[in-house]
């Protein structure tokens, strides 16, 4: 009887220890994931710089604009592209600021590189890349820098929170009540 009671105590203690270990591992995995995620903005910025380098050399790998225009039809004028670029930059910055205020986890950086490449491409077709290159570069650099900053601060804050959870777990063997589920 006493032996069975001892066995039950040992089993309960093992289960608690397993739960703590799995919770600990879960938090450590999340911290590792967040550290990886925090570099996402910088990777997007690097990709954008690469595309910008190609654009500054007038896209040496693409066919000449007149050939593309002959097959696809005329592009919008440089003025219309500039107007859309202004609208896009404004909305992208506002969106990024809203996400920053809301503390949202959002992986939007790489799609911005796509949009900006399209702007470079349209200016290339409309023969306005020389005059408007720095506008697209400035817009891209601003948006991606903001996104990098947003992602980086979000990850830093969440990592700090996770470290606090880890310390609480080590102390008490359970997660703090309000943070027992992931918030993002």
């Amino acid at each position: 009887m006493e032996q069975a009671e001892n066995n039950r105590t040992v089993t309960a203690s093992d289960t608690a220890s397993d739960t703590r270990a799995s919770l600990r591992q879960g938090i450590l995995d999340e911290i590792r994931g967040l550290k990886r995620f925090s570099n996402r903005g910088l990777f997007a910025l690097s990709l954008f710089l690469f595309v910008s380098t190609l654009a500054s050399r007038n896209f040496p790998l693409l066919p000449r604009p007149d050939k593309i225009v002959a097959s696809l039809g005329p592009p919008p004028t440089a003025q219309i592209i500039s107007l859309v670029l202004i609208l896009y930059t404004f909305s992208a910055i506002i969106l990024s600021l809203c996400r920053m205020m809301a503390g949202m986890r959002h992986k939007s950086s790489f799609c911005h590189v796509g949009y900006l490449s399209v702007f470079y491409f349209f200016y290339y077709l409309a023969d306005g890349l020389g005059d408007n290159y720095w506008a697209v570069f400035g817009a891209g650099f601003t948006i991606l820098l903001m996104e990098s900053y947003r992602i980086w601060t979000f990850c830093n804050d969440t990592i700090n929170k996770k470290n606090e959870q880890l310390a609480y777990l080590e102390r008490t063997g359970r997660l703090p009540a309000e943070d027992s589920t992931s918030e993002y």
Binding site: A78, T89, I93, N132, A135, A139, R150
Partner: protein
Amino acid sequence: MFDRIAGRALVPVGIVVTGFLIVCFVLLYSAIKTVVIKDSVGHANNLAGIILKSTRYAMLKSDRELNSAIVQNISQQKGVEHVRIFSKTGVVAFSSDAGEINRQVDKKAEGCILCHAKNQPITTLGNMEKARSFKNSLGEDVLAITTPIYNEPECSDAACHVHPASQKVLGTLDIGLSQEATISSLSSIRGEMVLFSLLTLILTTAGVIALLKMIVLQPMRKLQEYTERSESDSNLEHPHNLPYELDKIARSYYFIRNKLAEAEHQSVKTGTNLQ
């Protein structure tokens, strides 16, 4: 820097304002440049039209001397780089530079290729298509307009030198204008825009810093000093004139501090009574 309120608030504001200002500056300058260049091309086209009207009578009369005088006089005007009139075969008939007269021009040369790219040359061009820009031997920017001289009933019916009515273009006029004034205007516009952008940037950043300091940082410092000083002086009054949120924190802290002091006092009293 990034763990302080000032750093966290100012970095995004700095990035957003600077970046958006640069984008707007480049696009606005590009739009202004397009308008100014279109305007100078329009003026150059008008000037080419004036030259054609001026030489029309002399051409009808086939007066080479009068034509040469008109071309020479116009080329002496400030800002006019060159004036040439080509015959249908591409030979320079009249020119501001006497050395060019009777010289054959290659149809593949810049300014000619646009119309002569195909076997059948193009006879009508838009204003912007007639224009080309290049640097002359002195390294100055030149805007040149090549405009066709069309056959008119008076030309084909003239008794002196009849052109067949089927010939649509009799020759071309090529006029080069110095771009110095345009480039100088653009440079002045660019300088003013850079100055205004910098002033806007400084004003925005200074405004944000001033407001942030006045509304957030100074009250925060007051609150911080209060919490630090109250550790050694439990009777310290909480600071007044704080913004609503910080005032609530200060009052809560004051309340907790008093409760703690009371509890400490109570426990000391109980300990003394027990002894």
